[in-house]
């Protein structure tokens, strides 16, 4: 199974530069997601890989072979479109058979392989139906079968589940992962849905404004974001400007502009330049006003409260700015209450502030 490599890809639509010097390597058999908000260049990256869009510069390599100028019909990649892009004038069987017929596969073998694939995606009963008479989930399965049946070297997905309802989305993503592992196909998957992306990927690429912010395992991205952008993207909402004051007790000692002290675990390396501490709303402990003088203590007052179902979320006014904190269900604080916030040392992530 092949390895995909993107080298210094620059790409644009008209005068609009979308990708700048993008490097990416997808290892053999891996499931890699491109995650980001709309307009971040993730679909553009996918289109460059597929050959639908010619890169301005840079290279696309598959197992070291140069694919940069190869037309899409000679790449042998399976592409699953957001719109499914099924041929509306063909029935399910002919849609799935399309790629095999282009490859001049013998009639009998086309029939065998298409029927086999329809069996795999559970659509055997619908083989003679026109594709436009199918439901969203069924269309998605046809699109998947059509891409898989050609035994692609690489499987490309462009937001394949975004047109399905929530329940079906979860079911289909499990299905996609199962098929990918069953056929062991190197896969590049574009989505803006974090949960979907984290649940099925071996590795995740977080993209922002045409560059890759972080390329890592989902667990790492979630717990150790590499940049303020990624931190915000995966749910860190509180950020402190900090200065590093050395190590003690095996922890980084940090101080904010107003003198508040913080600690952070030493497994993190300290980026050069200005430093930013990031904490999730659910990581901060909220209690009645009481100072003990320990590191990570911040005094504040409740400015705003919203009910989340599992608990309350507070906006707390402090000397370090407004912080977002999730509190427990019982005995909520009221607006105006003075409180003390505690940031546990092992919940603070240190980032370089660009």
């Amino acid at each position: 199974m092949p390895t995909l490599e993107l080298r210094k890809i620059c790409a644009s639509y008209g005068d609009n530069r979308i990708l700048t010097d993008l490097d990416l390597e997808v290892a053999d058999g891996d499931f890699v997601s491109l995650l980001g908000e709309s307009g971040c260049g993730k679909t553009t990256t996918l289109r460059v890989v597929a050959g639908f869009l010619r890169a301005d510069s840079g290279g696309v390599l598959l197992d070291g072979e140069d694919y940069t100028r190869r037309p899409p019909n000679r790449r042998g990649f399976g592409y699953v479109f957001q719109s499914y892009a099924l041929f509306p004038h063909l029935n399910v069987f002919d849609n799935v058979a399309f790629g095999l017929r282009q490859r001049k596969v013998a009639r009998e073998e086309v029939r065998r392989r298409v029927d086999e694939m329809l069996e795999v995606v559970g659509l055997a009963a619908l083989r003679d139906r026109l594709s436009k008479s199918l439901s969203g989930g069924q269309k998605q399965r046809v699109a998947l079968a059509r891409a898989l049946v050609i035994k692609p070297d690489l499987l490309l997905f462009d937001e394949p589940l975004s047109n399905l309802d929530a329940k079906l989305r979860v079911k289909m993503r499990v299905e996609i992962r199962r098929l990918q592992q069953e056929f062991k196909i190197t896969t590049l998957y574009v989505t803006h849905d974090q949960e979907e992306c984290f649940s099925i990927s071996d590795k995740v690429t977080v993209m922002n404004d045409g560059v890759i912010e972080q390329f890592d395992r989902p667990e790492h991205i979630f717990s150790q974001p590499a940049s303020p952008f990624v931190a915000r993207f995966v749910g860190f909402e509180n950020f402190f400007q900090l200065r590093h004051q050395g190590m003690s007790d095996g922890r980084h000692q940090l101080v904010a502009a107003d003198g508040t002290k913080f600690e952070a675990p030493d497994r993190q390396t300290i980026p050069g330049g200005r430093l930013l501490g990031a904490v999730r709303p659910e990581a901060i402990a909220l209690g009645p006003a009481a100072r003990t003088g320990q590191a990570g203590e911040i005094a504040g007052s409740i400015a705003f409260r919203t009910y989340l179902g599992r608990g309350y979320q507070y906006i707390v006014q402090t000397a370090l700015g407004d912080l977002t904190v999730n509190g427990e269900d019982q005995q909520p604080f009221a607006t105006g209450d003075t409180v003390t916030l505690r940031v546990p040392p092992d919940r603070m992530v240190l980032l370089g502030d660009a």
Partner: protein, 273 residues
């Protein structure tokens, strides 16, 4: 009750159509069977005349050739327009429609200037020494086909653009990613899906060319009489109203049969449409 009363809204239009279309059509057809002749006698008489036979098949030939040329010219043009950006697309459609804004008399007449003995085409060819003597381009079947093609091409383009615009862009990409070179993908995807537009365009161009009067009258010579100009002669010169009605009825039947044939062919090519 509430729903059935909605049909009342159609009554004014139905009355109008009934009075202005159905009734005259009926009286025209009825006229061809009236009088002291055998059933279909007038039709038999029409076809016994060699000149009439020529006119009949010439009309059919001119209309078919015009339709084929309009499709051949209009299809790539329409695809180009449908692929252009939204701003360019409206501009190009406007350009395609612009000729429709002038009267067909003016548009046919301009071809006399272009195709005449001392017209632009002959002048150019003479200056380039391609020919020594002016070509006879006017007042024959060729000039009629040219005039009709020019007249009806916009209808073909418009019908096709309307359909092609709605073909999803992803379909071409899907076909190429599955291994079809672009040209093959075009014939496997765009052609069958644009067939409904081609059918509408072909029907419009064919019926238009078959029934057109001005263009064959102005650009056609004595040797290129068509059914519509023949009707005019029967009715207004020879005052043979029965004969004129017979020809008119044949034109209606001819049009309907060709439309049916086009539709049947299209359904075979794209059962989903």
């Amino acid at each position: 009750m509430r729903y059935s009363s909605v049909y009342l809204l159609c009554v004014p239009a139905l009355v109008l159509v009934g009075l202005l279309l159905a009734a005259p059509l009926y009286s025209t057809v009825a006229q061809t069977f009236g009088g002291e002749v055998a059933l279909f006698g007038r039709y038999g008489a029409f076809f016994e005349n060699a000149f009439n036979r020529d006119v009949f098949f010439r009309t059919l030939k001119i209309a078919l050739i015009t339709t084929v040329i309009a499709a051949a010219l209009g299809y790539p043009t329409a695809y180009f327009i449908s692929q252009a950006g939204p701003k360019w697309r409206s501009l190009l459609i406007l350009c395609a429609v612009l000729p429709l804004l002038t009267s067909s008399v003016v548009r046919s007449f301009s071809w006399i200037v272009i195709l005449g003995r001392k017209g632009s085409v002959n002048t150019l060819l003479m200056k380039l020494h391609v020919i020594d003597a002016p070509l006879r381009l006017l007042f024959n079947e060729i000039s009629v086909v040219i005039g009709l093609t020019y007249l009806f091409l916009p209808l073909m383009i418009l019908s096709l653009v309307g359909v092609m615009e709605n073909i999803e862009d992803d379909l071409m990409d899907a076909a190429t990613s599955l291994g079809a070179p672009r040209i093959k993908a075009f014939f496997a995807v765009i052609v069958p899906l644009s067939l409904p537009g081609l059918v509408v365009g072909a029907v419009l161009v064919f019926t238009g060319s078959l029934t057109s009067f001005t263009t064959p009258q102005l650009l056609g010579g004595d040797g290129s009489t068509v059914l519509s100009t023949l009707i005019f002669r029967q009715a207004m010169v020879l005052f043979d109203w029965d004969g004129a009605a017979t020809i008119a009825t044949m034109m209606v039947v001819l049009t309907l049969s060709v439309i049916t044939a086009i539709n049947m062919a299209a359904r075979r090519l794209n059962p989903a449409a």
